[in-house]
Symmetry: C2
Subunit: 222 residues, 2 copies
């Protein structure tokens, strides 16, 4: 049985990833990260889904490093803009090297436990403005991880070349309830429905209705 | 002028690295990491050397992740063994994925500041038991870092293929006072002189007397 640490933010992609890993029969533990994001409300949704699936879940407090990576609208004083997720204007939501930081901690934990791999829910729609979501980045980091650990821990990135709509179709197929996921970056009580990630969420949920989740799942390797 | 974040533990290698960067005219900021190591006394020596060189220094509190990487004699309940640094028995001092974790945070900070690179003092003597000190690991991580950041941040690892004795010869050449560095892993008030890293320290300081530091420096690129 493959033993996988899943990085789960509480958003659509990582919650679908968590369900997919269970669906595929992995032994799973989940880590969430508090890096000072305004929308730390997302962490409640990570907890909720882990509880539902019986997955051990820990929230890692990285707020000590928030001042070091503050040059982002998610962690600093700048406002989260409205617009489309792939717009240049959304670059202010990039958190410097966030994925490598979370992955490095998760790889350390996987090595500590004797697990096989670390899974993250980066997807094709992220590639435009988030360099640390791109296929070539996760491949290079997986290489570094295998070289830097005795367990030769790999990264599992099943969504890296599919769209968020495809992910939602996968989730619909395997029983994800997207009402128990959180996307909005603005940190309010409800989804604002106008920031980039809210717009992307609505698009994906709408488009997913036209996609056959079963055939997407058949193409995924985890 | 090259802008470099230096990871400085307070040991011989990283303190020499810090002096070398200043010697080569870099703009430098330093980060030290408290990851729950028993020998956190080393951090005082990082602070001392940064102060002497007028380098901004921050200690990053990563103790929230200590329980996740506790399967090591440096962070857990196991005792630090006596012996030689390269012995199999010293494997218990490996901290799971420690270098990637520290580097990931430092890369994030470099990206946040608009710096060019992150420097770390891994050297050839580490390669035997520390996989995350090996040349192929730091090369793969440098590749991932350049792919994952807008500033295309590189790793600078000038000591990766030289010995600790060579490093000490470099330090002697550029004015490092090794009495203001800390090596011992055991966490006592004085160097124990019997643990692997103490034995290695004494060997290096002794052998360095026979090495021409100038010619070593000429071979280093930072």
């Amino acid at each position: 049985m493959t033993k996988t640490i899943a990085i789960v933010s509480g958003g659509m992609d990582s919650v679908t990833l968590l369900h997919l890993l269970k669906h595929k029969g992995h032994e799973v533990e989940a880590l969430s990260f508090d890096y000072g994001q305004k929308h730390r409300k997302e962490l409640d949704f990570a907890w909720l889904n882990c509880g539902k699936l019986g997955v051990k879940h820990q929230i890692v407090d990285l707020t000590a490093i928030t001042p070091l990576i503050s040059n982002s609208a998610l962690t600093g004083s700048e406002e989260v803009p409205d617009g489309h997720y792939t717009d240049e204007s959304m670059k202010v939501t990039v958190v410097p090297n966030r994925n490598m930081i979370m992955l490095a901690v998760a790889i350390g934990y996987a090595e500590n436990l004797g697990f096989d791999q670390v899974a993250i829910g980066n997807h094709a729609g992220d590639h435009a403005i988030y360099p640390d979501c791109r296929t070539e980045f996760v491949e290079a980091l997986s290489e570094a991880s295998q070289l830097g650990t005795y367990n030769k821990i790999k990264l599992a990135t099943p969504f890296t070349d599919i769209s968020k709509s495809d992910i939602a179709a996968v989730g619909n197929e395997i029983g994800v309830d997207y009402r128990t996921t959180w996307s909005c970056y603005k940190g309010g009580d409800k989804h604002c429905n106008t920031c980039g990630t809210c717009v992307e969420r609505l698009e994906a949920l709408d488009e997913a209705k036209q996609i056959d989740g079963k055939s997407v799942i058949a193409r995924l390797t985890v």
